[in-house]
């Protein structure tokens, strides 16, 4: 019997193992806090296939209705579909029920404001304050909201995508897609029907008690089932989505995993020449390749702390037309054309469009970029010891360009590292990148710092 318990309440929202930490009462209270936080107006909701979403959906609807909001229930849909629907319905906000890349026993609530955007740091903080105070604005029996189901949002979402990408032009590509039993399957199946795309779907069955494999978005999960299929099926690319399809991992036509760090640079490469925006917004942990690609198109990179909120805070300080693309090195990318929402399917279409425009195979595009080697590690968190570790690291590596906005990032020409405390898990993350070859010595030294700090207490 598994006895792991988990509940995480943070600026990112509410997340945990259902029935072992994340309980109905958290769902009701957090949703009531969100209903209190939002201005009046309808709220759009949807869920991923996890069975626990059936329970959570009921609690979310009850709390939103109790705080006077009408609820527009999209049923089982991917997170980007919810975000598009919020904009279209001119809704006050939205909630996506789903734990994207977490294992099946997890679930979570993601909150969106008007126009489907993520909450800023200040907004997320206010939501947390309301939750902790538990002073909810509950309507009396004359002011309660109602719930209605809305079908067809997937088609309207596809209309939005088709307005930006030339779907007919992408028919030439064969892609193998690992849906990992997530909501991307529903969207992609409809895309195939509507646009005649040559997508071969695996793990398409959508049911909520088990996933074909861990829904993480990285080279290891790509290699499990998808990558080995690409070459035998003579596909031009392979794509892997997490459960709510806000992120994508990519395999080339050779069956090799493309580094998740390459997704943002490729999309920047496609979008930078197409619009007025010349800025790429990304976080401190993302590959330096993005700077090289931006420079090719006369663009530049704005780096912000890790996390959705920091990206949203940065986006808020620019005009939309100044920005070409924003994203992370994790395969999560957002585009101004879609009002900055992380969308793995839009990312896939952008990569296929780049292939079409260049007339190059995916492996050729990757090979055309300078080689960067990234090393990632983690160590258990000991919060008390972190400040000392950071000070020592800063003393040891003070000769580089130091950035302390999110842990410690130090950069030298063609080499950088970033050591920070995760927002979502009790770990210290270590990431280090070098052009030309992996910086093993630096990485091992950093990992020693991270591990020793853990061991000292």
């Amino acid at each position: 019997m598994k006895t792991e318990r988990a509940l995480r309440i943070s600026h990112v929202g509410l997340r945990g193992i259902v029935g072992r930490g994340l309980e109905a009462t958290h769902i009701l209270d957090f949703s009531a806090a969100f209903g209190t936080f939002l201005p009046p107006g309808p709220v759009v909701i949807g869920r991923d296939p996890r069975a626990s979403g059936i329970m959570i959906r009921e609690g979310v609807i009850a709390a939103l209705m109790a705080t006077g909001h009408d609820v527009i229930d999209l049923g089982m849909v991917s997170t980007p579909v919810i975000q598009h629907a919020i904009q279209r319905a001119n809704a006050a906000g939205g909630i996506s029920i789903g734990a994207s890349h977490n294992a099946v026993e997890w679930n979570a609530l993601k909150f969106f404001g008007a126009r489907g955007t993520y909450l800023s740091t200040a907004e997320a903080g206010e939501l947390l304050d309301i939750y902790h105070l538990r002073k909810f604005r509950l309507a009396d029996h004359t002011g309660l909201g109602h719930c209605r189901a809305e079908a067809g949002e997937v088609d309207r979402y596809l209309d939005d995508l088709a307005a930006v990408f030339d779907m007919a032009g992408l028919r030439r590509f064969r892609a193998v897609v690992d849906c990992c039993n997530g909501t991307s399957a529903l969207v992609l199946r409809r895309m195939i029907e509507r646009f005649g795309l040559d997508f071969i779907l695996i793990n398409e069955r959508v049911e909520g008690v088990s996933f074909a494999h861990e829904p993480a978005i990285n080279a290891a999960t790509l290699g499990l089932q998808l990558a080995p299929l690409v070459k035998p099926l003579r596909a031009d690319a392979g794509f892997l989505f997490d459960i709510d399809s806000d992120r994508v991992a990519v395999a080339s036509e050779t069956g090799d995993a493309v580094s998740e760090e390459a997704v943002l640079p490729m999309i920047a490469d496609y979008l930078l020449p197409r619009g007025a925006g010349k800025l790429v917004i990304t976080n401190l942990s993302t590959t330096a390749l993005v700077e090289e690609v931006a420079a090719l198109h006369g663009g530049s990179v704005v780096r912000v702390p890790v996390g959705r909120q920091a990206a949203m805070d940065a986006l808020a300080t620019y005009r939309t037309d100044q920005i070409a693309v924003a994203g992370e090195g994790t395969g999560a990318v957002m585009m101004p054309q879609f009002r900055f929402i992380y969308d793995g399917i839009a990312s896939m279409l952008a990569i296929l469009s780049l292939m079409r425009e260049r007339g190059q195979r995916l492996s050729e595009i990757i090979a055309s970029y300078p080689a960067y080697f990234v090393l990632k590690g983690e160590a258990p968190l000991n919060p008390q010891a972190v400040p000392v570790m950071m000070m020592e690291l800063q003393k040891q590596y003070g000769d580089g360009l130091v950035d302390v906005r999110d842990g410690l990032r130090v950069a030298w020409p063609d080499r950088w590292f970033h050591v920070r405390v995760s927002q979502t898990e009790p770990i210290v993350r270590v990431i280090c990148e070098q052009k030309g070859e992996p910086a093993w010595a630096l990485f091992e030294s950093l990992m020693d710092y991270a591990r020793n700090t853990t061991a000292t207490v």
């Binding site: 309980e23 329970m55 997890w106 309660l144």
Partner: protein
């Protein structure tokens, strides 16, 4: 004095929706219920109150969180839900209804696997689980689904009711019937039942479940003015008035007068005892007319504290054939289901009118005549005791029954009953006697002591 806008207790949970009866509280109570009945099917339905939709989601959330499967039957009368729970072998059921309470209230009515109100043992266990918050919590793979079944419950209910009356003859008679559905959970079912099942010429008002209650929810002589007017205008032979969840029934006779609820119960008891063996169980506040009728049929009457669950428990214990709560318009006929059921009442009364060929006013007039008077005052803790002692001293010759407040039995079927309400902060009192002067006397004596 604290306003009783929320009451969590052995009779369930009831309160003003919003600041008091919150979705969180409803969900927690449902979790306690789900923990108690165990992981299996639980039937969930509601009346037409505006808060019902919201609370239904909250309760479904709580039930699912404990690993129950939710069978959503939508808007249904309470007796319909009870029949369905019992017939489908569900683990239990929940009806979201505050019955006759005002629209700002709502409540959870809880049923066991037989579709019966929780008895006092079950209620106590449930309450312990609720207070301790020791809920069963299902993990992802244990969480079950919500299924919808709005068609089966009313069909099952009506099938059971019509087994006990002569439908074909009632149909042939084509009664002109008026109905006031209070825009409640029974609105659609009642129209279908009277018009199609029993072939009546139906004149209905307030049968739109999407609209708010047009009158005070409790069907009483002072709330049924529109129904009375309808009966007179359309020259209906009878008028039926329901409460929002379809368990209570009030009757207007062909002259437009509202019959006393005890008289309605008496009519049905008389009809049932005339054709079936068995005894009778009623609550302590029900009229002595029931004793007279039972005596005429050579049967016994068992008395219980007020409350449907109490009457049902007694009926099961003594295998009573019929029972009810006269004072609040409830007829309980176990062959349909151990619950108050306005549909059974309507069918029996129409059947009786068809068999006798008599108008309802004359049928009522055939019953032994008693006069009743009742009242209520705002309850204050510690007030009932002195009132009881005073009254007992004032009637030293009376037979005393202390099972629910104080009931004093006097000569010739006369009685006095004072008690605390189970659901509201009220002290209720009632008196009954064979002549109206004595009733006035008794009433005055009680008033003086309260």
């Amino acid at each position: 004095m604290r306003e009783h806008r929320l009451k969590v207790g052995v009779s369930g949970i009831r309160g003003v929706v919003g600041e008091y009866l919150t979705p969180s509280l409803a969900s927690s109570y449902a979790q306690a219920f789900g923990t108690f009945v165990g992981p299996g099917r639980v039937v969930l339905g509601r009346d037409t109150r505006s808060s019902g939709e919201m609370l239904q989601h909250a309760v479904a959330c709580g039930l699912l969180a404990t690993g129950c499967e939710v069978v959503d039957v939508g808007i249904q009368p309470t007796p319909t839900i009870q029949v369905y729970v019992g017939a489908t072998r569900a683990r239990g059921g929940i009806s979201l209804t505050a019955s006759h309470n005002p629209p700002e209230y709502n409540a959870l009515k809880l049923f066991n696997h037989q579709g019966l109100f929780f008895n006092h043992y079950e209620r106590r266990e449930l309450l312990d689980i609720f207070y301790e918050s020791e809920f069963r919590t299902a993990t992802n793979n244990e969480i079950r689904r919500v299924v919808h079944d709005v068609e089966t419950p009313p069909r099952m209910h009506i099938e059971r009711v019509v087994r006990h009356v002569d439908v074909e003859r009632i149909k042939t008679r084509r009664f002109r019937v008026a109905l006031d559905g209070v825009n409640g959970a029974g609105s659609e079912l009642s129209c279908h039942f009277l018009e199609h099942t029993l072939g009546c010429d139906l004149r209905a008002i307030s049968v739109d479940p999407t609209k708010p209650f047009p009158r005070e929810a409790e069907p009483r002589p002072d709330t049924l003015g529109e129904l009375q007017a309808l009966v007179r205008r359309d020259q209906a032979e009878i008028g039926f008035g329901q409460d929002p969840d379809g368990d209570r029934l009030a009757i207007v006779d062909e002259t437009g007068e509202v019959l006393d609820n005890d008289e309605v119960l008496a009519l049905v008891v008389d009809a049932v005892l005339g054709s079936l063996p068995g005894d009778v169980a009623v609550n302590l506040t029900t009229s002595s007319v029931i004793d007279d009728i039972a005596a005429a049929h050579g049967r016994k009457v068992y008395r219980t504290p007020v409350g449907e669950a109490n009457v049902v428990e007694m009926m099961q214990a003594v295998k009573a054939v019929i029972g009810g709560e006269g004072s609040n318009g409830g007829i309980i006929f176990p062959a349909v289901q151990y619950c108050r059921d306005s549909y059974t009442g309507m069918a029996f009364v129409l059947d009786l009118m068809e068999r006798t060929g008599l108008p309802i006013s004359q049928l009522a007039a055939r019953m032994p005549k008693y006069f009743r008077k009742s009242g209520k005052v705002t309850f204050e803790h510690g007030r009932l005791g002195p009132v009881m002692r005073d009254l007992e001293d004032a009637f030293p010759q009376a037979t005393v029954d202390r099972r629910d407040g104080l009931k004093l039995l006097l000569d010739r079927g006369a009685w006095i009953h004072v008690r605390a309400s189970n659901t509201e902060p009220l002290l209720r009192y009632a008196v009954e006697a064979k002549d109206s002067a004595q009733v006035e006397d008794l009433y005055r004596m009680v008033r003086e002591r309260i």
